[in-house]
Assembly symmetry: C2
Homo-oligomer: 196 residues x 2
DNA sequence: CCATATCCGTAACTATGTGTACGGATAAAC
DNA sequence: GTTTATCCGTACACATAGTTACGGATATGG
């Protein structure tokens, strides 16, 4: 299969996997049902991904790379650091809480091995946090009372929304709610780091 | 069976369920394996709890009630509100992140129906948040820039620790780490609500 | 002591998932 | 056109889970 056709099939497979994950949970998102929905075969899934967890780990890496890529695209060279944070805060929040990211978190919570969770965590650590930290390090922060400003920023932005979404206690946020939350997080963040 | 013996058996069942949940995930924590580990029978579990999800919902309610009860016990009448918050912040954080609470979150994330998540969320809303809100309403808060101080407090205290714990990306925090995090949350909280 | 209710251990029924294997079909490279 | 590699659809082996049913054992109340 040519690379572009293979890429299309990979896309169909992961799209099917996300839909089944959202609808039936990790246990109910069987490899056979994913293959059928993607119009691929069982044998192909095992050949490409190794096993069920291998498929979901690939999806987690794709998702983290996609988030970093979109954050990078949203930045431009002529913004100052605070403008850049204002730019990406709602975007980051939106992506961390969208159905795909949440479905992956649910799969990781259901996976007893912990390996899928490790893949998601590595995605955050390797792809997203460095970008945030880099922006925050350009701010003229005066005082943080010994707190880590990157962690503080993420805490204020995301808080417990991911776990609420993952357990189904919170529906998808509207774009307005996302924007509002991001704005409030930045107000609090500025106050706490002495930039208000 | 007498009530106290039944209570003992209920305790054995839920203890077994937590252990299997932590070890094998929600799917692997089968009703048969829980019954065996609790030295009860399959038929008894179905008679008492209805079905698998009924068992875990009962555990979620028990857990929320237990958290509220321990918080109430930690408070005394002669503390002012800030002292009371300082008292319960590390305790609340510790309980929200302990293995039992996290196991329930993982079960809820794995449950495609959303009902287990609804039970956990109701526990938070009905048992824990009112207590926090009541304490915070006694504070002489000057200004919150339109933010909800109860939500802010919980955001600063818990942040994304629950989802990290649920996906296995973070081990159990030590008591020292819990205390430190609670202290930092309260410093930030005071600053943000004009009590610093 | 007897009657009743409940628990226990196991079997049975139904269902589904993971992962491998296989022969035919198709795509791709030479 | 031929050879090789890969995909597809299906079958298969193995395993396990949710839930109900049943007869004997035990606990409880009168």
């Amino acid at each position: 299969m040519r690379d572009d056709k293979k890429q299309d099939k990979h896309e169909a497979i992961t799209t099917a996997a996300y839909a089944l994950l959202a609808d039936k949970g990790y246990a109910g998102a069987s490899m056979l049902s994913i293959a059928k929905a993607a119009k691929a075969s069982n044998e192909t899934l095992y050949r490409w991904y190794g096993d069920k967890r291998g498929l979901f780990e690939a999806m987690a890496r794709d998702n983290a790379q996609g988030i970093r890529h979109r954050l990078e695209q949203a930045l431009s060279d002529d913004q100052d650091a605070m403008q850049a944070l204002e730019q990406i805060a709602p975007l980051l929040l939106s992506m961390l809480l969208d159905d795909r990211a949440i479905s992956l978190n649910r799969a990781a919570a259901a996976d007893p091995s912990g390996e899928l969770g490790a893949a998601i965590s590595a995605g955050g650590r390797d792809e997203i946090v460095p970008l945030i930290r880099s922006l925050i390090s350009r701010l003229a922060i005066k005082d943080t009372d010994g707190l880590n400003p990157t962690d503080l920023f993420v805490t204020l932005l995301v808080g417990d929304l991911q776990i609420k979404r993952a357990i189904g206690a919170l529906p998808q946020l509207s774009q307005e709610q996302v924007t509002q939350r991001a704005r409030e997080a930045l107000i609090s963040f500025r106050k706490l780091v002495g930039l208000a």
